[in-house]
Symmetry: C2
């Protein structure tokens, strides 16, 4: 039994971003209901040297955007990190989703010889496509989704694990 590289990446990103948006909408409603400054929630973080909620959302978007682009042999498009409101973060998610959906499966599947090279702190790191997705992109994507969730939970937003996971089972046409 096999999974195409496209199905192991693009639909997974779309589902994760959809769940992230739903979680953020609950946080936005929570701030409105409790008359909290939304900016206080968006700049909250779990440790002084971790990213705040806004940057966790941007990073989740970027993990999906860069993962999709590099698996398709493209240079990822650059999106400026200028969001300061929930509404702007929803736009960021929508822009990311639109990019991901624009990449055809045929640009990702069937390119076994592609090499993905990243600049990391210690120098350049090269991956074959499957290890790139499984050892870097997916763990990183879920890191930012989960940490965004953790910040919101830590700051009192009422959420459950199913808000993070989304509807189960997924729709039959999902992959």
């Amino acid at each position: 039994m096999t999974i195409s590289l496209y199905h192991a990446s693009v639909p997974v990103f779309l589902r994760g971003l959809d769940n992230l948006e739903a979680v953020l909408r609950k946080a936005q409603a929570h701030a409105a209901e409790k008359q909290l400054d939304p900016a206080a929630l968006l700049s909250a973080r779990l440790a002084p040297d971790m990213f705040d909620l806004t940057r966790q959302v941007q990073s989740a978007c970027d993990a999906a955007k860069a993962g999709t682009a590099r698996l398709a042999g493209q240079t990822p498009p650059s999106f400026a990190d200028t969001e300061t409101t929930f509404a702007e973060l929803f736009e960021r998610i929508a822009k990311t989703v639109a990019f991901i959906k624009s990449v055809p499966a045929s640009d990702i599947d069937g390119h076994e010889d592609r090499v993905v090279t990243l600049k990391m702190r210690g120098g350049e790191v090269s991956f074959a496509p499957v290890p790139y997705l499984l050892s870097f992109v997916l763990p990183n994507f879920y890191f930012h989704l989960t940490t965004a969730y953790g910040v919101m939970r830590h700051y009192g937003v009422q959420l459950g694990k199913l808000d993070y996971l989304g509807t189960l089972p997924p729709p039959a046409d999902w992959i």
Copy 2:
């Protein structure tokens, strides 16, 4: 380009658990160095109604154990949640790794018609194997790895993203 169901699950779990163990060893060393009660760290959590660090580790192990077992058509073995020390959590991880390694690829791959049924709060939920892995097992596994990391970071353990991700690129024989 395709990924076998086995390669998208078992090596991913083994790598994630290996990274989790390394992160916990840093937390253990941090507690010793700062003369903190290790039990205080192991019972720390991000919100009163979230699992503590110990249970995040148990849950990461269980996500990997149950995911592997169900993909192989087995009932997951039951491990009692009795750990109260770092040493016992390392044993839990080792026991989980041993179980996962005991499952041959041929029990997971080549069983397209298998249906995975879970009892969830709203009733029984059934999945085909690939959506089970991609919509439930992997997001849930990374949720617990990341939340364990987040608890440790929140409580002052010095860690970086690469502790969570592990060595990059992964070894050439990884998958």
